[in-house]
Symmetry: C2
Amino acid sequence: MGTGVRMAGRPALTVKRLMGVGPVAPLINRRFAGPFNTDFVRAAGTLPWPFSSQPRDFSLPNSSWGPEMMQLYEHYNSQCEVETDAGTTKKGPWRRLPSYNRILKYATGGVHLSKIIQSKARLFTRNIKVEGAAFEYVTFLNKEERRCVCVFQGGHLLEGPPGHVHGGAIATMIDTLTGTHASFLSGPVMTANLNINYRSPIPLGSTVLMESSLDRTEGRKTFLLCKVTSPDGSKIHTEATGLFLSISMRHLLGA
Amino acid sequence: MGTGVRMAGRPALTVKRLMGVGPVAPLINRRFAGPFNTDFVRAAGTLPWPFSSQPRDFSLPNSSWGPEMMQLYEHYNSQCEVETDAGTTKKGPWRRLPSYNRILKYATGGVHLSKIIQSKARLFTRNIKVEGAAFEYVTFLNKEERRCVCVFQGGHLLEGPPGHVHGGAIATMIDTLTGTHASFLSGPVMTANLNINYRSPIPLGSTVLMESSLDRTEGRKTFLLCKVTSPDGSKIHTEATGLFLSISMRHLLGA
């Protein structure tokens, strides 16, 4: 199990270029601008969280991200938009997926589902706002290669074994990455099975690279492979398979 | 997989008796009284958390626990101490396991390991102090039957699918319960494999009953079975197996 995970395109750990959050923010503001007038959104868009009234995108760098987390982020983020020979820019092979602490179905264009559930509910992986304390992660999708990668830095509130990330926190990130990947491949899905082999513990505060790749689909079933390694891929921390079942959202919501 | 889970001793959902936290607190105070003089400990022991300087035992009831959580708690807690024919009390078949947000090896008598790791580290399942918001759970051990049960109420900060507990939060509780059980059976262990079948989603705020039973041991390996059901056992939410490897703590700590 897990030996079939494809690990193509291992990044070299060099900072390609330092991109600010600027080029990304306007896109996000437009997407979630519904309740606001445009001028207000533009003004708010210039303010950093928590002063902005826009939802915070947790996938953007903050000061808690260590050098390895930043290097991997830059590696993939620099491939989201690439320069053409004519000097203009075009979409690259990777796409950074924004991440919020409410249920926002960015997969299908920002449908806000949380109105129908209790307003206090928050996404498990984004329920702690203190930067660097819990789950710091950013996910990138490569549509053509049917791959997703996630750069994950586990904070001090995720402790399991002394000084190391809890097995449940690792399982949570595997479920999050493979579930996100499956939803891009197959539409709305629910986790049916996770089979996780823990090879070596992950120290608190360290950064790991997670890769999800498509194994196969069978009717309503999407099978994924997932590997968690050290940033340069030399050390395997965890290997897993995930099985996801396609569902209709109405079914889950009891409608 | 999972079909071999033994479900003996299903509790009837009746409140047996209402036990306060009083009888338990003095024991805990004695166990962790190291840095304090005895008089101070006695005085502090009369104050509730957060006014007490004693570590908070998260396994004791709080006002966020719903009726189903309380009923299951009472069912097992009432069997921790039983009356003899002579009218005195003696140990019952079950034992409630205290639960802290630091690494406290209660399994071997309260050895405090967290001095050697960063002082900010907190156990993943106890990193949110707001009552009812995240993981509310209490674990009971039945040494003779080699079983552990856990009563778990998942709060609004554990959201995965809209209105339901995150698959990773369920995996976290399975890892926590089976890992605790394995450590009582086999001493210090690390999770080597979790294989989790998600049968039906768990609504936020609801209570589930989790049961862990010993499958077998093979050398350093301890195999456990785990089942997550509705409080009366009629609905299966999740079935899982866990494999744990015996380790020396020195190995994990790099000593």
